[in-house]
């Protein structure tokens, strides 16, 4: 009798705490959504209104007309897609090589690969920028994409799944006269599609949300990505709170939609480091 009561009390406390944190985390987001439909004066009211008194779409209209949101949205999308496709290609190709071939120095090279993840971005930040200027890549999408396109993590991740590809399949393709690249492309790659999907959502999200590197590389406004343009809205003479909140919301939407469609891949992609540790 005593035990069940304690258990009920424990359960109440557990749920109370879990819901308290959940609501604390969700409230800012709903407040943001509500404010995107408000005029500046209503946002400034001391008593917050959850449902806007006079809901309107002016913040969104201004975002598209004055801040050219669609243009920067497409810039972000282009960079994110280009990064994702080239990263997937390079990572799966190298992962395939590490998983399915034996060659001199393989273990050493793999250690170098793992070690490369230890280099902190900010240590190489300044010389990397100098290099990108010298290569004529400053203020170009190539300058944003190329330095980070062959991430070691992706190769490490793809190696793990490439190891499950049966050797007999590869050997029989060789007997049929297929080149090594065709074996990779037509036999190995289709078999690791689930892993590619996980890596794809991770790469897309990383690139879509990236801020610091595009901030320094993309000088002219028409090339800039959403995070860079949004950060620029803060320092303006008259801060447009409703517009900034609308931008924050709309810029997050693609990732949220992607998450709804590919929940499993997201969770797997973001925790894979922890599992493999």
């Amino acid at each position: 009798m005593d035990g069940t009561l304690t258990r009920r009390a424990q359960r109440t406390i557990a749920y109370g705490f879990l819901f308290f944190i959940l609501i604390s985390m969700a409230t800012p987001f709903f407040w943001l959504i509500s404010n995107t439909f408000k005029e500046q004066y209503e946002i400034f009211q001391l008593r917050p209104t959850l449902i806007p008194e006079e809901p309107h779409l002016r913040n969104y209209i201004r975002l598209f007309v004055e801040f050219d949101f669609a243009h920067h949205f497409l810039n972000s999308a282009f960079i994110a897609v280009a990064h994702t496709v080239s990263h997937l290609f390079l990572a799966s190709l190298a992962g395939f090589a590490f998983a399915k071939y034996t060659f001199p120095l393989k273990n050493f090279l793999f250690l170098v690969l793992l070690g490369s993840m230890m280099v902190p971005l900010y240590t190489i930040f300044i010389p990397l920028f100098v290099l990108v200027i010298r290569l004529g890549l400053v203020n170009s999408y190539a300058g944003v994409i190329i330095p980070g396109v062959a991430g070691a993590f992706g190769i490490f991740f793809m190696k793990q799944s490439m190891e499950a590809v049966p050797n007999e399949l590869l050997d029989s393709a060789r007997i049929d006269g297929a080149s090594e690249f065709r074996i990779y492309l037509q036999i190995a790659l289709p078999l690791v599609r689930p892993a590619l999907a996980v890596l794809a959502v991770l790469a897309f999200m990383t690139s879509w949300n990236d801020f610091v590197w595009p901030l320094v590389v993309l000088r002219s406004r028409e090339l800039q990505t959403l995070p860079v343009v949004m950060a620029g809205m803060v320092g303006m003479y008259r801060m447009e709170h409703g517009v900034i909140m609308a931008a924050s919301l709309l810029s997050t939407l693609p990732i949220l939609l992607l998450f709804l469609a590919l929940q499993k891949q997201f969770v797997q992609g973001l925790t894979v480091g922890a599992v493999k540790s």
Binding site: I21, L93, S116, T123, I124, M233, M245, S248, L270, A274
Partner: protein, 305 residues
């Protein structure tokens, strides 16, 4: 005579079919190593070279030996940014990680259903960009109309200045907590779910209560995941950049400035590329030493017994 080229071609072909499996992997992995050397190793060495010079980005460089480093050791703004960064790291270890662990333990316990609601709900903030999240919090912390002060007003508490010198570091930590608690809950859950259930059964047979099971099964079994979470959190804290920049521009009076913010200010705003590179190398050494200490404390170098 006329058959010689054919023999040679056959020889070449034979050589290729024999050794293509030795050559091809190098071709497949070469893009990574070329890019790594050009865009990481090269800049790393160049940063070291730059850090020994004074250079405004154009014109001649002046060799200053270790001058940048000795100046750094006495630079009050750098020391402040170092302290702020350490503050954020300590805050993450004292608040974000324990909170994440408690949430993970609750979700994992038999008391609670709706597990995926909490798991996914906490996880969602990590999907936002640091920019979108920080801009949202910039409004939330606003003195006049921010959500927090509105809430305090409803409770009759006077408004607090969340972005002033006294509170700004707490506010930066709050943004970090909002974005990163959920992902750490997922990490800890991964660890908890990988604990073999028979360990708990054996402990119950031995008469261990809930607390004893937690102390002698859960905690030791969580060691690998705790090490991973610890290293990731430490590295992340020491590279904090966007949150203090957008929330308060590193201010007021450098109260929220991180090492990465100061490096950016020196290297890009003030065009002191040598000095900025020296900051970068000091940052790398700090991160490297702290990673090593964490690995050592968690016994990663000890042989498994």
């Amino acid at each position: 005579m006329s058959s010689a080229p054919i023999v040679e071609e056959r020889g070449l072909r034979a050589w290729w079919s024999r050794s293509r499996r030795k050559v091809v992997p190098y071709v497949f992995i070469s893009p990574f190593y070329i890019l790594f050397i050009v865009f990481s190793v090269g800049p790393l060495i160049y940063a070291l070279y730059l850090s020994l010079h004074r250079w405004p980005g154009t014109g001649p460089m002046r060799h200053v030996g270790l001058g940048n480093y000795t100046y750094l050791a006495g630079d009050p703004v750098f020391l402040k940014s170092l302290w702020n960064t350490v503050y954020y790291a300590i805050g993450a270890f004292l608040f974000i990680l324990p909170l994440a662990l408690v949430l993970a333990l609750l979700i994992n316990s038999t008391l609670v259903r709706l597990k995926s609601l909490f798991r996914i709900g906490y996880f969602l903030p990590i999907l936002t960009s640091t920019v979108a999240a920080t801009l949202m919090f910039l409004m939330i912390f606003n003195n006049q109309f921010g959500l927090i002060n509105q809430g305090l007003a409803l409770l009759g508490v006077p408004a607090l200045k969340w972005l002033d010198e006294e509170l700004v570091k707490i506010s930066v930590l709050a943004v970090a907590a909002w974005r990163y608690t959920g992902i750490n809950v997922l990490y800890f859950l991964t660890g908890l779910q990988s604990i073999p259930p028979d360990l708990y059964e054996a402990a119950q047979v031995d008469g261990a209560g809930t607390w004893a099971q937690f102390r002698y099964v859960t905690i030791p079994q969580l060691r690998p995941i705790a090490l991973f979470v610890g290293v990731v959190t430490m590295i992340g804290s020491f590279q904090l950049f966007a949150e203090p920049l957008l929330l308060a521009d590193g201010g007021p009076n450098d109260a929220s400035l991180t090492i990465a913010n100061y490096l950016y200010r020196m290297g890009f705003t003030n065009a002191k590329l040598g000095y900025g590179s020296a900051i970068g190398w000091v940052l790398a050494l700090i991160i490297f030493c702290l990673s090593f200490i964490q690995l050592y404390l968690f016994g990663a170098f000890r042989k498994e017994d």
